[in-house]
């Protein structure tokens, strides 16, 4: 299925699209308020872009530095070239320690690698502990958004889900009551987990430390109780120095939810006493992406989700329409760049409005990248019409002739015929009625009348 086909499924339920749009737009507005309150925003974006570009340029050196510093502090660093190797490494670590129950916190990388189904198929119970991720896990779904995994669901749907799985009273859909039930259930699971798996927001080359940001504290509970912490980290998550965090942390939560900082920002340097910390560095297509100039910048992404909250196509079509681990504008660059055969329709899930580029906290030129991916995929369906339009707009007489014919056609032909010609454009909206007269001819009359 293409993005457009899946988005149509999401939009088929009356009211769903508008409701989803409103929810995400409120997040976007909170982001705007937070950004307006910070006069140095532009400077931070500039620094973040430069830091990421520099790190990417020197990535192999920084990775080696990170490895040696992390090792010096007692962490064990592993390298995985792809998802399969990542999953094998994690499984090996768990099996060696006879781990049967894992508490996992949010990690888009482990989603990308398909870690949960891989471990579950081998008899290991994996509990997602971020509330949104837990909700979609119980529904056997993927997250629809990288920061707000269950944003596509209404409270009544979550209430019904919790009634079935957590035994909350039927019809209970009050968020506070549902969160309390989840807290109770997940506490028990935190206390019985034998290992914790987390993602990594930032890896620090200078110190060999890793930083994980959450609002719920789930990554922290998941790693402060059991004797094993496995952190899965994409190689692009590196930053050079500890002090660089001050730039990225000021940008991240403001862009994601409008908060100045997340409730928990944990800095791990080596393992807890009597415990182990394993860091798995994952390539999985990133080195290839880095070699391609047109899409390289997409590796600067810090996964705040602002481009999704802003994108009209995402807001109306939902995150699942992308059929990819990372949805939205950034996913529409990353996913087809990695797997062009699976995600060919994603660069076209774009109205060309450019809003995503304006909100990106690390200054990724998403509109430009999407355009270059569209260009790479060659001529498209509907290209004939565009070529005709391009021809007509390239000369005054041609333009006057073409618009004259169209004006006449709209008046003379039955509406159904016109709408057929306009294809999908008229499915959810009426074709505007063209003025009876062109502006040019109206203007000429005015001039003559003077």
């Amino acid at each position: 299925m293409t993005h457009a086909e899946r988005a149509a499924l999401f939009a088929a339920e009356p009211g769903r699209s508008a409701w989803h749009d409103e929810a995400l737009w409120s997040v976007r507005q909170r982001r705007d308020e937070a950004v307006r309150a910070l006069p140095e925003w532009g400077r931070l974006v500039e620094l973040a872009g430069q830091l990421k570009a520099h790190t990417l340029a020197r990535l192999p050196d920084y990775l080696e530095q990170f490895e040696s510093e992390a090792t010096a502090r007692g962490a064990v660093v592993h390298w995985a070239k792809d998802a399969a190797e990542h999953n094998r490494i994690v499984l090996g670590l768990l099996e060696e320690r006879r781990v049967e129950r894992v508490a996992k916190s949010k990690s888009m990388l482990t989603e990308e690698c398909g870690l949960n189904p891989y471990l579950e198929a081998r008899g290991i119970e994996v509990i997602d502990t971020d509330l949104g991720e837990r909700i979609v896990q119980l529904r056997n779904e993927a997250p629809s958004h990288i920061v707000l995994p269950a944003i596509h669901l209404k409270r009544t749907e979550i209430g019904a889900l919790f009634h079935e799985h957590l035994g909350t009273p039927a019809g209970e859909s009050e968020p506070a009551a549902l969160v309390a039930a989840a807290r109770q259930d997940l506490r028990r699971r935190f206390l019985s987990a034998q290992a914790g798996i987390t993602g990594v927001n930032f890896g620090i080359a200078e110190t060999g430390g890793i930083v994980v940001c959450t609002n719920e504290g789930n990554a922290d509970l998941g790693t402060s109780l059991p004797p094993l912490h496995i952190a899965s980290m994409g190689i692009e998550k590196l930053i050079p120095r500890l002090a660089d965090l001050s730039v990225f942390l000021r940008l991240l939560a403001r862009s994601a939810t409008g908060q100045p900082i997340t409730a928990y920002t944990s800095h791990f340097h080596g393992p807890r006493p009597d415990a182990e910390l394993h860091i798995v560095l994952v390539d999985n297509g990133r080195s290839a992406l880095r070699a391609r100039e047109a899409v390289r910048e997409a590796l600067h992404c810090i996964r705040c989700g602002a481009c999704m909250n802003t994108c009209p196509v995402f807001r109306y079509g939902g995150g699942h329409a992308y059929g990819a681990t990372i949805p939205g504008p950034i996913g529409s660059v990353l996913e087809p760049a990695k797997h062009p055969q699976h995600h060919a329709s994603l660069p076209f899930a774009c109205s060309g409005c450019g809003a995503c580029g304006g909100v990106c906290p690390v200054g990724i030129d998403l509109p430009q990248q999407l355009q270059s991916l569209r260009a790479e995929s060659g001529p498209q369906r509907g290209a004939m019409g565009l070529r005709a339009m391009s021809f007509a707009m390239r000369g005054r007489r041609r333009y006057a002739l073409a618009t004259g014919v169209m004006r006449l056609a709209q008046r003379l032909l039955p509406r159904l015929v016109i709408e057929r010609m306009a294809r999908g454009w008229t499915r959810d909206r009426a074709l505007p009625q063209a003025a009876r007269e062109s502006f040019r001819s109206w203007w000429q009359k005015q001039e003559r009348g003077r």
């Binding site: 080696e64 070239k81 997940l186 402060s224 908060q259 928990y264 390289r296």
Partner: protein, 197 residues
């Protein structure tokens, strides 16, 4: 080995390097950091109680229902917090699960965001930051900084360590964007800000 093949693949291309920038800028500044900190902390769902001197905290704690009702209490702040759970005696951090209140020292705090830096590098169980139902944090006014930029000038990691910025209680908005306090970690965070500004 994948390590070598990944590094070799990365070394095959050389993206342009804009250089490593200095973290310089005209950052936000607050004439009254304490007031700004208290406001930011409240925005994050926490509460700030200002006390002129440290001994006063004991009385303020008695005024907190969360503290009075906690049957098991832990403290990492010398002479305060009335602890009846000793972290050093616990062999398993899971035994902190029924701690109702924990009092911890914050070594610095950030006015712009209400975040308090807790350095748990020397803690036997860092779970004491995350498992107790309610948290109290003690911060001195001179340890307030404007923004994270000044904070990271002070933060150091020598050897093995763990530190965390705590900004208010645990929270989630994963159900229809409705903010709910007390997702997994502390249900409330009270910061005792010691000293005059």
């Amino acid at each position: 080995m994948s390590r070598e093949s990944i590094l070799a693949a990365l070394r095959q291309s050389e993206p342009p390097d804009p250089g490593l920038p200095e973290i310089e800028g005209r950052w936000q500044h607050f004439d009254d950091r304490a007031t700004r900190f208290a406001a930011a902390l409240e925005g994050a769902g926490g509460r700030c109680i200002r006390v002129p001197a440290r001994p006063r905290i004991a009385a303020e704690l008695q005024g907190l229902e969360a503290f009075r009702q906690a049957r098991r209490r832990a403290s990492v702040v010398d002479g305060l917090g009335d602890p009846n759970v000793s972290l050093g005696d616990l062999d398993d951090p899971r035994r902190l699960a029924d701690v109702g209140f924990a009092l911890l020292p914050g070594s610095l705090a950030v006015a712009e965001s209400g975040a308090v830096w807790v350095d748990a590098s020397d803690y036997l169980h860092r779970a004491v930051l995350f498992l107790p139902e309610h948290l109290g944090l003690v911060v001195r006014v001179p340890d307030l900084v404007d923004t994270l930029h000044q904070a990271y000038e002070r933060i150091r990691f020598e050897g093995v360590g763990f530190g965390c910025f705590l900004a208010g209680p645990s929270k989630t908005a994963d159900i229809e964007q409705a903010l709910v306090i007390g997702a997994h970690g502390a249900r409330s965070v009270t910061v005792f800000l010691v000293g005059r500004s």
